[in-house]
Structure formats: C-alpha cells, structure tokens
Symmetry: C2
Subunit: 227 residues, 2 copies
DNA sequence: GTGATCCATGTTGTATACATATAATATTTT
DNA sequence: AAAATATTATATGTATACAACATGGATCAC
C-alpha cells in the first residue's frame, strides 16, 4: 500500500472548490430558495469563465439543489415538505443498514472529533447567526457518523440524500427552537459516544434511526408553510 | 389535473437522447470496459458540437460508468468484482424497502408488460446476440418492477445503482449460461406475477431480494477474472 | 382603461478557437 | 545499445462569441 498518487488535477481541484462553495451556500441558506444564480456573476467571483461554472451548476441540478431554466436563469430549488419527508423516510431506513453492511469501528480520531462537536453544540446559541451555525455543526456531525459506514455505495447514497434535506433545519427552525435543537444534537452525540466507546456500534444505526425519526416529528410540528 | 406541460426543451431532449444512447451502449457492452470515447467523434456522430457531448460524459462519470482523464481521453470504467458486490449488497437491502416505503399496486399495464417480457425471455437463446439481448430484457424487467416503488427517492437510488451493476451480466455470462439465466429470469417473472395478481405485493421486495441473492451467487461462481 | 401583441433586454445553450495535459515517438547522451 | 530527455501529436479543459429562449415593459388596438 504505497501512498495514493493523489494527482488531483488542477481542473478537478477548481471544480471541487467551486462546487463545495456553492453547495455550502445553498444548504446553509446563504442562497435562499428561489435565488437566481447568475453564471456571469459567479464566473467573475471565482475568476473563471462560465464554462467551469456551468459544470458545477449542472451537478447541483442533478442533486436536486438547483433548477436550470434555459433563457431564464439558475434557481435554487424550493423546499417541498412532502418530498423532503419522502427522502427522510428513506434515510431512516438507510441508517439502519449501517449496522448490517460492513460497519466500521470508531477510530480514536472520530471519538475526538465528536467530542469537539459536542462542545461546539454548547456555543451555538451564543453565535451571531445560531441557525446557520447549527446547520454547519449538523453537517459535520453527519459526516463524522459516515466514518462508520464501510460500504462505499451506501455512504455515497446517504451523503447525497443528506445534502438534499440539510436545508430543512435552517429553513424551518426559528431562533427559539435552535437552542433546543442544539441541545438535542448534543444529547444525540452523547448517546452515540457511549455506544461507540463500548464498541457497541452494531446498534448504532438503530439509535441513529430513532434520532432521525424524532427530529422528523419535531420538524413536522414546527413547520408552518405547507407544500 | 390538466395535462403535464411537458415543455421538455429542445436542449433537454437532445441531452436525454445522447445520454441514454451512450449509457445503453455502455451497459450493453457495445462499448467494452476500457474503450475510449472520443468527444470529437461522438460530436460528429450526433451532429452537435463537443459542448453538449461533454455534458453527457460528465454525467456518466458521476454515475461511475466513465473515467475522464485530462489530455488522455474518456474511458469506459472497468468492472471491479469487489465494488460490484458491494453495490449488489446494498441493492439487496434496498429492494426490501419496496415493501415498506409506499408500495404501489400493480396496474393492468404492468402485468401485460411483464407477460410480454416473459415471452421475450423464451426467444433470447435464439437471438443473434443472446448475451446482449438478455441484458436488454433484464433492463426492461427491472424498470417494470420499479413501477411498484412509490417513494420517488428510493426509485432514483435503485435506478442509479442498477445501471452501475447492469453490465455484469453480458460481461461475465458465457453463451452456455445465457440460456440458463434467461430461464431464471422467466421463472422470476412468473413468481412476481403470481404475487402481483393476488395483490400480495407487500412481500414482493422479499421475493426480489431472494432472486438478487441467488443471481449474485451464480455470478460469483461463474466469474473468472479476479479484481 | 384594458387587452393583446411586439420588441428590447438579459439569460442560458452551443459552437469554436485556444490553453493545458498526456503519452508515444524521436533524439540525444552516456 | 540503453536510458534519459526532448519533441510532437492528440486528447480534454477553458474562454468567448453567437444562437435560442424567456421575460417584462412599451406600444397599439379596441
């Protein structure tokens, strides 16, 4: 096992940079649903031509975060509660598979990262933009949990579905609820850590499913706008 | 419920045409693994410039069917048994979810289509290219079964994973085994039809899983080249 | 005033010339 | 002769001008 070539071409690096930037802005609601993303403007910002920008936008469209309309513009998709609940249902079943399909034991690094994220949870309420900060931490917690997934295909599917639902939190949470959700997330990490410390990861998916189900219920309760 | 606008723009139609053509050629092994797909050549064939071709190729790369290397070419990916088994494992779990997540009853049209596919199975052995013909029928059977999936996200994921593994059949089957596999497929449709006719679809996913598992085992047995 | 129509403006889609990277071949050096 | 290097051909990536399309406002008919 020699070191990976890691010959990430310059083009690929540029793509990843722009892609992750835009995706992050969308799921953190820096770009709210309905926002038009001008290719020319983005090209100017990232100091490239429209061509590489368009490649990123096409990818975001495939992932359901963007709607490209010829002659009109590229619009951040709206959040549809029925559709998101559908995705959420699927995610709840998928996390259970983490127990079955090639589960991986927690590394020391993962444990440490989860502890750090736990302390991050405590300072969310004091952040200048708590909703956005909560969404950020939520993403990092999710990605940390994905370290436990040994089946590559399962991880890819889970990530794709996650990024499709991640906007729900900053979108439907109000200032009051953020504090509670931060506490829930803190508690969730606690329980996860307890399981992982005892190498009890075969039941991790079950725990995760419970948390997703509860989170889903809370969201359905606080949601105001239908459709 | 008025008729769908169906304003599929000309550009989108063109994209779909080229995309489905190329994907079909890859999974039916018209383009064997390792084949280089020249953008210029494809552009000439489809009578467009390289630009729309490149959009299709990028999509195929995301779906794992193509590897794009700057300055070298666009190459049809090789089949890796370990990776495909991983995807297969996931697919086996996902089909079970068909029973749980918004299962849909079979329509008269679906029943009819399955009957037609059954007769198609009988003529596979006499086809001029049995392996390719089997792969074609196999795709259509899969797509028919997907009619039973009510959860849109689940269907999208299943389709994506299917197209990633569909090449296994024409790749690893030899002339002798094609006849047997065609019979297996015929029998599989029979059992499915029996379940669907009695509206017993809640156990359809279980049946499907059994068939996938057996197919997987047969593949592992007949496979010759490792890695 | 109200309606439809037309057109001006701006957007994304396409074609194409050029930049950059790769790989095979030719050349040079030892 | 063999190995390292330079060169050249050819591939994909990028920039940019132009075409197709959608939208909103001006214009005109009624």
């Amino acid at each position: 096992m020699t070191e990976m070539p890691s010959t990430t071409s310059e083009a690929e690096q540029r793509f990843q940079w722009i892609y992750q930037s835009l995706r992050s802005r969308i799921i953190l609601l820096d770009y709210e649903p309905g926002t038009r993303l001008s290719e020319e403007q983005l090209a100017k910002e990232f100091k490239v031509s429209r061509t590489p920008i368009r490649r990123v936008l096409n990818r975001l469209e495939v992932e359901g975060l963007l709607e490209i309309r010829h002659g009109a513009g590229n619009f951040v998709t709206e959040l549809s509660m029925p559709e998101l609940l559908e995705v959420f249902e699927l995610r709840m079943e998928l996390v259970r598979l983490m127990d079955v399909l090639a589960p991986k034991a927690a590394t020391e690094g993962l444990i440490q990262r989860l502890h750090n994220l736990q302390t991050a949870c405590l300072s969310i309420a004091n952040d200048s933009n708590p909703k956005r900060r909560f969404a950020e931490v939520n993403v990092e917690v999710f990605l940390s949990f994905m370290d436990l997934v040994g089946n590559q295909a399962l991880r890819e599917v889970q990530e794709q579905l996650f990024y499709r639902t991640a906007r729900m939190w900053p979108y439907w949470l109000d200032e009051k609820n953020v504090r509670h959700e931060a506490e829930f997330l803190h508690a969730e990490i606690s329980e996860a850590l307890r399981l992982l410390a005892n190498n009890h990861y075969p039941s991790f998916g079950h725990l995760y499913r419970c948390h997703l189900a509860m989170a889903c219920q809370r969201l359905a309760t606080m949601q105001t706008t239908g459709v």
